[in-house]
C-alpha cells in the first residue's frame, strides 16, 4: 500500500484518469504560458506580497533545493501553467485572490514542497523564488 511520491505530488484528490492526464496538461500549459508572458508580470506578482524580505528569504531557500527553477521565465511559466488568469489580473488585490486560490488548490491536491522543513504550496514557494530573481 505504499503511496508513491508522484501520487503525493499530483494530488490524492484527483482520480486515476486525471492523474494520468495531469502531466500532459501541465506540460502543455507550461509551454503555452512560457510563450505568452507579459513583460511586467513577474514584478506585478511579486508586488502582491507585502513583505518582500520574507518572500526573498523563503524563495532563496526554495531555490537552493530547486536550482533548476532559478529562472524568471521558468517560474512564471509554471505559475501561469496552473493559473493562466494571473497574467491578466489588474490589481494587487485581484492577483492575491488568484494566488490564494492556487495555493489552496495546491494544498488540496497535495502539490506541496518541503522548504527548510516547512510544507509549502508549490505556488507560494515559486512566487517567493520569483521575488529573489526580480
Amino acid at each position: 500500500m505504499r503511496r508513491s511520491r508522484r501520487r503525493f505530488l499530483r494530488g490524492a484528490l484527483l482520480g486515476a484518469a486525471t492523474s494520468l492526464l495531469d502531466p500532459l496538461r501541465r506540460a502543455w500549459g507550461f509551454e503555452a504560458a512560457r510563450s505568452a508572458v507579459p513583460p511586467d508580470l513577474a514584478r506585478r506578482l511579486v508586488q502582491s506580497l507585502r513583505d518582500s524580505s520574507s518572500a526573498r528569504a523563503v524563495g532563496a531557500a526554495y531555490l537552493r533545493t530547486m536550482p533548476d527553477e532559478a529562472d524568471v521565465q521558468t517560474l512564471l511559466a509554471r505559475l501561469l501553467g496552473d493559473q493562466p488568469a494571473l497574467s491578466g489580473s489588474r490589481s494587487a488585490a485581484a492577483t492575491r485572490k488568484l494566488l490564494r486560490r492556487c495555493i489552496r488548490a495546491d494544498f488540496a491536491g497535495e502539490r506541496v514542497v518541503a522548504v527548510d522543513g516547512w510544507l509549502l504550496a508549490e505556488t507560494e514557494a515559486r512566487l517567493c523564488a520569483l521575488a529573489v530573481l526580480v
Binding site: 528569504a57 495555493i103 488540496a108
Partner: protein, 536 residues
C-alpha cells in the same frame, strides 16, 4: 476486606468462588461487581496499599527490541495497579477500530463497538468521567471553536478527562467493607496449576517476599495483571502444558502493541490570533480536542488510526521535556514566542502566508510581539500499532526474587506505522494549508535530505529520535473467535481452559489510538456480567 498475606499460616489453602489475580483497573472493577453477592471472591495483589521498591523490582525485565522504557517503571505493583500513574485521558475506541481492515493485518474484533457500548456507559462513572458524551459541539464556544478545516480527511474529536481515578484509593473503603470480597495483599502468583487434563485450572501457587507461601483454589479464575505480566505468568506456568497455559498455538506473548508517540512537527497559524483553546488542556477537567482521520481517510489512504494534538508551549512544560523530541519542539516553540523561529525562517514563512490571506496582517512582526498567544503549536501524535506476530514478550533465564523468570520485551513495528506517521503530518499540512489556517513544519529530526533536494516529505525516511510508547501494553493475549488466531475468545476465556479468563488490555486485538483504561474497564464489566451468569 483486606488481608495481609504475609500473616497467613504457611501452606494455607484459600477457597473462593472467583479468584482475581491483580488489583488494577480491571481486577478492582470486576471485584466491585461482586460486592453484595453471596459469592466468595478472592483478589490476589502483588503489592500493598503503597508502593515499595522490593515488590516493584519483581516487574523488571529486558528490552531486546525497539528502545523502550525501563520495564520496571512502566507498570505498578500496588493495590490500584497502574491507575496510580495514569493521566486520566479517556475515549472509547472508534467503531472502525473494531472492524476488519484489509490493509491492517490481524485487525478485527469478534464484535462491533455497539456490543461494548452499554459497558462504556457503565464504565464512565467508575472512571469519574461524567456524562458519556463525546460530541464536540457542547465544548465549543465562539472563542474556542473547532478548526474550520477545508476537507474531510481529518476531524476534531475530544478526549474526556478523569481526575484521574486512582482505583486503589477511590475504591479502597468500598472494598474494605465488602465481607465476601477479600483482597490478599503482598500475594504473588508463581504458578497457575492445571488439572492433569490440562483443560482447567486446579489451583494457584502464591508467594510472599517474606517467604510465606499459600494456595488458592476457585471455581473460576481471572488473570488481570497487565499486558506484560499476563503472558509472563501464563508462559511460566508450564508444569502440565510445556508451552505454558493457553499457549497451544504459540500466541501467548505475541502481538505486543503500544501506542507510538512521535512528535510530528509544529503548526504555525497564519494568524496568531487563531483560536485554538478547544485543543488545549490545562482547563481543569474540561475535555480537549485533537485531530484524527476519518474512517474513510484511513481506508482510502491505507493508514492506521492516529491522533494529532495541538499543544502550546505551556502544555509542553506540563508534559516535561526529558526526551529529545520534546526538547526540539520546545526549543522551536520557545523561539517562536521570542519572535524568532529557526533563525526567523518560520517568521518569513508565516509572513508570506499571511500576505496572501484575507485578513492581511500588514504589520505582522509588530503584531506578534504584542500578542501573548502562542505562535506555534507542537504536534504530538499517537499512532495505532499494526498487530505484529514478532512483537512479543518471552521469558528469559533470569529470575526475580521469587524465582519467577523475568521477561524480554521485543517491541517491533514496521512500515505501516512509519507511513501513517508521515502521511498524518502531510495530511494535516494539506488540510490547514487548504483552509488558509497556517503551515506545518516537520521537526528537524524527522527530515532527511535526499541528495540535498526533496520535493516532499514522502522522501523523509526513518522515525524521529523521539518515538516512544505511552506505557500502554496491549495485545499479548489477544481476543479472537478462532483459537488459532487468539488466546481468549469473545468472552475473554482462554480458549483451551474452561475456567480461566483474562481481563485488561492484553486481550485487545487492535488498539486504535486512544488511551486504553476506559476500554479496559468496559471489557471488565462485560466479563463480570458473564462470570455472574456462570457462577449463579
Amino acid at each position: 476486606m483486606f488481608v495481609d498475606a504475609r500473616t497467613l499460616p504457611h501452606e494455607t489453602e484459600v477457597r473462593a468462588d472467583l479468584c482475581i489475580i491483580g488489583a488494577g483497573a480491571a481486577g478492582i472493577t470486576i471485584a466491585r461487581e461482586f460486592i453484595g453477592s453471596p459469592l466468595e471472591v478472592c483478589v490476589l495483589e502483588s503489592g500493598g496499599l503503597a508502593l515499595d521498591g522490593e515488590t516493584q523490582r519483581l516487574a523488571g525485565g529486558r528490552n531486546v527490541g525497539f528502545p523502550y522504557f525501563v520495564l520496571e517503571t512502566t507498570r505498578l505493583r500496588v493495590f490500584g495497579g497502574s491507575t496510580e500513574h495514569w493521566a486520566g485521558l479517556s475515549r472509547p475506541l472508534e467503531e472502525s477500530d473494531f472492524e476488519v481492515r484489509d490493509w491492517v493485518g490481524g485487525s478485527g474484533w469478534p464484535f462491533p463497538r455497539s456490543h461494548l457500548e452499554p459497558y462504556y456507559l457503565r464504565a464512565h462513572p467508575i472512571c469519574q468521567l461524567g456524562a458519556y458524551d463525546y460530541r464536540v459541539d457542547p465544548w465549543e464556544t465562539p472563542g474556542s471553536p473547532r478548526l474550520p478545516l477545508a476537507g474531510d480527511r481529518l476531524r476534531t474529536c475530544v478526549l474526556r478527562r478523569s481526575p484521574p481515578t486512582r482505583f486503589g484509593r477511590v475504591y479502597h473503603n468500598e472494598i474494605e467493607r465488602a465481607g465476601k470480597v477479600r483482597v490478599y495483599l503482598h500475594s504473588n502468583v508463581t504458578q497457575i496449576e492445571l488439572a492433569p487434563t490440562g483443560r482447567a485450572v486446579q489451583r494457584l501457587e502464591v508467594a510472599c517476599l517474606t517467604g510465606a507461601r499459600f494456595r488458592v483454589s476457585a471455581r473460576l479464575y481471572v488473570l488481570a495483571t497487565g499486558g506484560l505480566e499476563n503472558p509472563r505468568l501464563l508462559l511460566a506456568s508450564n508444569r502440565v502444558a510445556p508451552n505454558g497455559v493457553g499457549n497451544d498455538h504459540d500466541l501467548v506473548g505475541r502481538y505486543f502493541m503500544e501506542h507510538l508517540s512521535p512528535f510530528g512537527g509544529v503548526f504555525m497559524p497564519t494568524n496568531p490570533a487563531l483560536p485554538l483553546g478547544l485543543y488545549q488542556h490545562g482547563r481543569g477537567l474540561a475535555p480537549y480536542g485533537f485531530l484524527c482521520p476519518s474512517a474513510e481517510t484511513q481506508r482510502r489512504e491505507g493508514l492506521l488510526n492516529f491522533r494529532i494534538l495541538l499543544l502550546a508551549a505551556p502544555e509542553l512544560e506540563v508534559m516535561g521535556n526529558s526526551i529529545d523530541g520534546v526538547r526540539a519542539a520546545h526549543s522551536l516553540i520557545e523561539s517562536a514566542r521570542r519572535g524568532k523561529l529557526d533563525d526567523d525562517f518560520g517568521v518569513h514563512v508565516r509572513q508570506v502566508a499571511a500576505d496572501l490571506e484575507e485578513e492581511a496582517l500588514y504589520a505582522y512582526k509588530a503584531f506578534f510581539r504584542r500578542d501573548e498567544r502562542p505562535l506555534a503549536y507542537y504536534l504530538p501524535m499517537e499512532i495505532e500499532q499494526e498487530p505484529n506476530l514478532s512483537s512479543r514478550v518471552t521469558l528469559t533465564n533470569e529470575r526475580d526474587a521469587l524465582g519467577m523468570p523475568r521477561i524480554a520485551l521485543d517491541w517491533r513495528f514496521g512500515e505501516l506505522e512509519k507511513r501513517t506517521f508521515r502521511r498524518g503530518v502531510e495530511i494535516l499540512a494539506a488540510e490547514v494549508g487548504q483552509a488558509g489556517l497556517g503551515r506545518v513544519k516537520l521537526l528537524p529530526d524527522n527530515v532527511t535530505l535526499t541528495g540535498g533536494v526533496f520535493r516532499s516529505s514522502t522522501e523523509v525516511v526513518g522515525w524521529p529520535q523521539s518515538v516512544d510508547g505511552l506505557y500502554h501494553h496491549m495485545g499479548t493475549t489477544r481476543m479472537a473467535r478462532d483459537p488459532k488466531r487468539g488466546v481468549v475468545n469473545e468472552d475473554c476465556r482462554v480458549h483451551e481452559i474452561d475456567n480461566l479468563f483474562i481481563a485488561g488490555s492484553s486481550v485487545f486485538p487492535t488498539a486504535g489510538y486512544t488511551n486504553p483504561t476506559l476500554t479496559i474497564v468496559a471489557l471488565s464489566l462485560h466479563l463480570a456480567d458473564h462470570l455472574k451468569g456462570l457462577l449463579h
